[in-house]
Symmetry: C6
Amino acid sequence: VDLAEIAARTPGFAGADLANIVNEAALLAARKGRDTVEDQDFSEAIDRVVAGLEKKSRILSGLEKERVAYHESGHAIVGEVLAPSERVTKISIIPRGVAALGYTMQLPTEDRYLLTESELHGKLAALLGGRAAEEVVFGELSTGAANDLSRATEIARAMVVDYGMSRKIGPVSMAKERRPSFLPGDYGGGREVGDRTADEIDDEIKSLVERAAERARETLTKNRAVLEALAKGLIESEHLEGAELRKILDGVRVAGIKDPYRELEETAAK
Amino acid sequence: VDLAEIAARTPGFAGADLANIVNEAALLAARKGRDTVEDQDFSEAIDRVVAGLEKKSRILSGLEKERVAYHESGHAIVGEVLAPSERVTKISIIPRGVAALGYTMQLPTEDRYLLTESELHGKLAALLGGRAAEEVVFGELSTGAANDLSRATEIARAMVVDYGMSRKIGPVSMAKERRPSFLPGDYGGGREVGDRTADEIDDEIKSLVERAAERARETLTKNRAVLEALAKGLIESEHLEGAELRKILDGVRVAGIKDPYRELEETAAK
Amino acid sequence: VDLAEIAARTPGFAGADLANIVNEAALLAARKGRDTVEDQDFSEAIDRVVAGLEKKSRILSGLEKERVAYHESGHAIVGEVLAPSERVTKISIIPRGVAALGYTMQLPTEDRYLLTESELHGKLAALLGGRAAEEVVFGELSTGAANDLSRATEIARAMVVDYGMSRKIGPVSMAKERRPSFLPGDYGGGREVGDRTADEIDDEIKSLVERAAERARETLTKNRAVLEALAKGLIESEHLEGAELRKILDGVRVAGIKDPYRELEETAAK
Amino acid sequence: VDLAEIAARTPGFAGADLANIVNEAALLAARKGRDTVEDQDFSEAIDRVVAGLEKKSRILSGLEKERVAYHESGHAIVGEVLAPSERVTKISIIPRGVAALGYTMQLPTEDRYLLTESELHGKLAALLGGRAAEEVVFGELSTGAANDLSRATEIARAMVVDYGMSRKIGPVSMAKERRPSFLPGDYGGGREVGDRTADEIDDEIKSLVERAAERARETLTKNRAVLEALAKGLIESEHLEGAELRKILDGVRVAGIKDPYRELEETAAK
Amino acid sequence: VDLAEIAARTPGFAGADLANIVNEAALLAARKGRDTVEDQDFSEAIDRVVAGLEKKSRILSGLEKERVAYHESGHAIVGEVLAPSERVTKISIIPRGVAALGYTMQLPTEDRYLLTESELHGKLAALLGGRAAEEVVFGELSTGAANDLSRATEIARAMVVDYGMSRKIGPVSMAKERRPSFLPGDYGGGREVGDRTADEIDDEIKSLVERAAERARETLTKNRAVLEALAKGLIESEHLEGAELRKILDGVRVAGIKDPYRELEETAAK
Amino acid sequence: VDLAEIAARTPGFAGADLANIVNEAALLAARKGRDTVEDQDFSEAIDRVVAGLEKKSRILSGLEKERVAYHESGHAIVGEVLAPSERVTKISIIPRGVAALGYTMQLPTEDRYLLTESELHGKLAALLGGRAAEEVVFGELSTGAANDLSRATEIARAMVVDYGMSRKIGPVSMAKERRPSFLPGDYGGGREVGDRTADEIDDEIKSLVERAAERARETLTKNRAVLEALAKGLIESEHLEGAELRKILDGVRVAGIKDPYRELEETAAK
C-alpha cells in the first residue's frame, strides 16, 4: 500500500476520517476473502467515505451515461486548466450516495487556510465545467447541473458579501451573522440591506457566475479533443484515475483563456 | 397475466409498491369471486395505487363529463406530440382519489435520472394540454386546471431558479435550501433575492408557461380530429387504454409545432 | 312532506347533515305539540342548519330593516339574472346565527365539481348584488356588505392566482401551497412573488370585482320594479320562498347586460 | 328613579351589565349611608362601568384642566352637529379609569346593527373634534388626542379595506382574515397586498381622516360661542349632563358644513 | 431636612419610591456614623434611586471628563432655554448606574398629564443639547450621545405616528398596537404602512430631530459664556445643584432662538 | 516580572481576567519545570486568554505564511499611523484559537469610555489595513479579511445608525432596540425604517468603509519600506513585540494622509 498516495488523496482529513477509511478498506478486503488490505481497497474506501456507497440499482440509460461522462469530463478539464492549485485525481460515472450520478475528485496539493481571488474564480469555473460541457456537446442543458449551480452561487455570494471581492459592493460585509437556523427571524445569508443594495448584490453574483460559465465554455471549446478522449474513456471504463487519467489530462491547452480578475481590475482602474 | 405489461406500467416503483399492487389485485379478484388474479385486476390495482379509489358517489353531470373528457384528451395528445419520451398508456374520466375527476397516465419508456431542457418544455406543454383543450373546444376556462397550473408553475420555477435554464437569469441558483417547512423563516422556494431579480424570475416563469400554453393550443388545433375522437371514445367508455388508445393516438400530426428551445437559443444568439 | 323539495334544497349535503335536519325538524314539531313532522318544520330545520338560529332579540329598526330587505333582494335578482345555473329558493330578513341580518339561499340545480369562468363571473356579481342595491336605492353604502366583499375578493383572487383566468397574469399558479396556518412563515395566499407581480395581481382582482359590481348595478337598474316588489314583499312578510318568490323573480329582464367574459376575450384578441 | 332615563343611557347593555350597574348603585348608596338607591347613584354607577373609577389622585393643573375642557367640548359639539344619530348625554373632565382625563358620552337613540357611510364620516369627525378644539383654541396640539387618532384611523381603515367605501380602492376586501394574534405570520389588518395598493390604502385613510379633521375645525369655528360656553361650564362644574347640557348644545348651528360623502360622489361622477 | 425641597425633586414619585428614598437616606446616614438623617443624605439617596449607584471604579481620563462636562452642560442650558416648563435641578459628571458617565436632572414644576407640541419640541432640543455642546466645543462628535439620540428619535417618532403632530403625515395614527414583544409577527412600532408612507415618516422624524439639533446648537452658540462657566464648574466640583447651579444658569439668554412650531405653522399656512 | 508592562497590556481587564492570566502563567511555568513564573509566561498567558491556544497542527504553507505576515503588518502600520490613541504592542503569525491565522494586539493607553469620531475613523482604517496590505503587495485579495470586514462594517453601521455620525442620515437613531435574538420578529440591527432610508444607510456605511480602505492603502503605500521590514521580521521570527517591534514601527511616516472627518465637514459646510 502506497501511504503517500493515500495521504495525497485525503488532505484535510482528521484522524477519525482516516480511521474510518482504514476500517472500510479492511471490511472490503475481508468481503473479497483476502487477508491483506490492498491499494484498491483503500481507493474504494476513500470513494465511499467521500461520495457514498455505489448505487448498483441506479442504472443509467445509454444517453444519460454519455451525458454524465461529458459532464464530469467538463469539470475535470476546466478544473485542470483554471483551478491548477488543485489536482484532478479521479473521475467516475458510477452513481454513488444519495443523488450523485458521477463525481470528479479534485484535491489541493497541500492543506489550505486561505483562498485567493483568482483561486475562487477558478473554482467557480470548474463547478460550471459540467454544465458547459453539456452545452458545448449536446447544445442543450439538463437537470444534472442543479447542485453545481447551487455551490457556485454560494461561492459567488460569499465573494461578494463576505470577502469584499466585488469592486461595486466594496469592502463591506453584507452577511448577517449566521445564527443557527432554528431561530425565528433568521433568514440565512444576506438581506439585512436595503433593496437597492440587494439588487446590486444579485447583479454581482450573476456577473461572477456568468463570467465563470463563459471561461468554462471557452476552455472546453479550446480543449474539445481532450474532452472527447476523456468522455470516451469514461464511457468505456466508468472511472479513470492515476496515470491513465493524467495521460489524457496532460494534453490540455492552458494558454489564452480569459482572466476575469485581470479584467475586473482593468475595469476598476478606468 | 402479462408481466412485461405490468412492468412497463410501473417504472420507478419500489418493491413495496409492487407488493402493494399484487395485494390489491388479489383482493379485487377475491371480491369478484374468482380464484385467479387476472390482467384486469392488476390494471385496476395499479390505478388504485397511482390515483386512489374510484369515487362512485361523485357523479359528473353530462356537461362536466364532456369537459373532463376533452381536458384529459388534451393532456394525452399534447403529451404524445411534445413529450414523446414518455408514452401515454391510459386515460380515464372516472373520478378517483381525493379530488381528481379524471387522469391521464404517461409513463417514461425507461427509468430516468436526468431530464433535458426540451423534455421539460414538453412536460410543461402536456400539463397545459387539458386547459388548452377546454379553451379550444368550449371557448372558456374552468376551475378544473388549477392543479395542472400549480404543477406547471413548479416545473417552470425549477427551470429558472434551480437548473439555470433561463438565459436572462443565468446559471445562478436562486433557490433557498429547502429546509423542512416547520422551521420559522423558511419561505419555501425563492426570494433570498432582491426585488428586481424577483420580478425577473416571475417574468421568466410566466414566459415559459405561456409559451407552453401556446404550443399546447397549436398542437390541439392541428390535431382537432384526434381530440374529438379521443373525447368521444372517453365519453362512451369512460376509460381508454392499450391498443384501443394507441389506435386513436397514432393519428396525431407531429410536424410543424413551435420549438421554444430553439427560439430561446436564437433569441440569445442575437 | 315533499321529499323532492327537501332534496332540492339540500344539494351537497352529507348523510349526517340530513340526519341533523330530520332531528331538528322532529324537535320543532314536538315543541309545537304536534305528532307529525310537517313541511314547515323541515323548512325551518334547513334554515337553522344552514344559517343558524333565529335571533329574536336582534330587532332591526325600520330603516335598517328596509336596507336589509333591499340588500337581500339585490343578491336574489342579480343571482337570478347573472348566475342562472343556481336557483334562488328563499330570501329572509330575519336575523340568524352569529352576525347575519338576512340571507338569500341560492342552490345549484345539480351537484357540481367544476365551475366555468362565466359561472364565476356570475357568482361575483351576485355577491355584489346586495351592495349594488344599497347604492342604487339609498345612494350610499353601509357596513352590511363587508362579508360579501370578503367572499367576492376571495373568489376573484382564486380566479387570478389559482385558475389562471386572468389574461394578464397568464396560466401561472401564484398561490403558495396552503399549508396549515399554525406553521410560522405561512402567509396564507399569494406573495411568493415579486413586487410587480403582486401589484398586477391586485389590479386584476380589483378589475374583476369592479366589473362584477358594474354588472350588478346595471342588472338592478334594469330590474328596478322587481327590486321594489321583492323588497316590499320582504318588509311585509320577512321571508319569501316557493311560488310566491318565483312569481316575483320570474319578472326579471335578462337581456342586454354586459358580459365580462366576452369583453375580456375581445380585449385579449386585439 | 327614572328607569326610562337609565335605559336610554345604557343601549346595547346586556343583562349582566345592567345587574352590575344596579349593584354598583346600591353600594354607592350604602356607602353614603342611605337606605334607598337614588338617581345620582345610578348615574355614577353607569359612569363607573363605562369609564372606570374616578382617579381623585390625578389632579390636573389649571392649564391642563382648561385644555381637557375644550377638548371634550370639541367632541361633544362636532358629535352633535355631524353625528346626529347619536345623542351627547354627558361630558366630564374628572379623570377616570387607566388613562382618560375626561370623556364625552354619546349614545345611539336605538340599537344599531348597520352603519351608513355618512354616519361613519360623522363618527370620524366627532373623534377628531377634541383635537380640532385644541387647534382652534390654543393654536397648538397636545399628546391628549393620541387615543382619538388611533380610533379614527381604525374606522377609516375599516371603511377602506373592509367596507369598500373608497371609490379608489373599490369594492375589494383588503383585510386579511383576522386570525387570533398568537398565530405566527398574522400581521393584524392589511398588507396581503402589493406595495402600490398598500400606498393607495394609506392615501385613502389619510384622506378620510384629514377631511374629517377639516369638517371638525369648520364646525367648531362656526360654533365658537357654544364651544366657549360648554368649556366654561365644564371648568366650573367638572361635568355636565341632562337639561343643563342640552341647553347649551341646543344652540349649535348645523347648516353649511361640508359633506364629504357628497363631495366624494361628485368627484367619482366626474 | 427641607421636605418642600425633597418634594420638588421627586414629582411623579409613588409612595413606594419615597419610602425607598427615606430608607436609602437612613442607611447612608448610618454608614457615616450619624444619628440623624440630613439633607445631603436625602440628596444622595434621590440620586441613587434615579440614576443608580456611583461607579467609583469608572475613572474618566482628563479629556473624557472635560467632554462629559460640556455634554451635560449642553443638556442643562438647552433645557433651561427651550424646555422651561421643567427646571434643571442638578448636574453631575460622576459616573453612575450601568452606563451613564454623567446626568442632568430636569424636573417639571408640577405633575403633568399632557404635553403640548412646543413642550415636545423643547424636550427634543434638550436631549440634543449634549451632542450640540460637543460639536460646538470640540468640533467633532463622540459615542456619548447614542442614548440621547435614541430617546430623541423615540419622541420624534411618537410625535409623527402617535400624536398626529406632523402636518405631512396628518392626524393619522401610524402606530401598530404595541402588543407584547413575545408575540411573533410583532415588529414593535410602525410599519403597518405602505413603503411610501414609511419613507415619509422617516423624513418627518429626521426633520424634527434635525431642527431640534439646530436649535440646540444656536442656543449654545448664543450662550457660550454660560456653557464655559458651567463646564468649568463641573470639572472642578463634579456636580452642581441648588443656588450654585441657579446662579450660573440664570445668566442664559433666551431671546431670539428659532421656534420650529411657528415655522411649521407658517409653512403649512402657505 | 514587570507588573507595569502586564498592566499596560491588559487594560479593561476585570479581576477575574487577571486571575485567569496569573493561573495560566503559573501552569505554563510549571509545565516548563520552572519554580518561578517569568515574564515570558505572562506574555504567553495573555496571548492565550486574548487570542486562544496556539494551533500547532495548523501549519501554513510558505505562500500563506507570507500573505498572513503582510496582512498583520498592514493592520499594525495603519493602526500606528491612523489610530494613534491605541498602541500596537504585539504582532504574531502563529495560528491561534478557532480560526485566526495571525493577530495584531493594539491596546489603548488608558481605560476609555467614549470614542470620538476621528478615533472611530482610525479604527476602521486599521481593520482594513490587512486587506489593504494584500492588495498593495499581492495585487489580489484573499478570504483572510472576512472577519476584518465584518467588524469594520459593524463599526461603520454603529457610526451611522447609533451615533448620528453621518451628516446625511442626521442625528437620528435608526437602530432597533437590541432585544435578545431568541425573540421572533427581532431582525438584529436596523430596518425599522423605510426603503429609501435603508438604501441611504447602506450608502453611508459603504462610503465610510471605502474611505477607510483608501486611507489604509495610502498609508501603506507611503510606508512600503516599513511594511516590508515588518513582514520580513514576522516571517523570520513568527512574532514581534517590545523594543524589536517598536524599532520598526517608529519608522512610519504619518504626515499627509487624508483626513475623512475634515473632508466630511468641508462637504457638509458647502
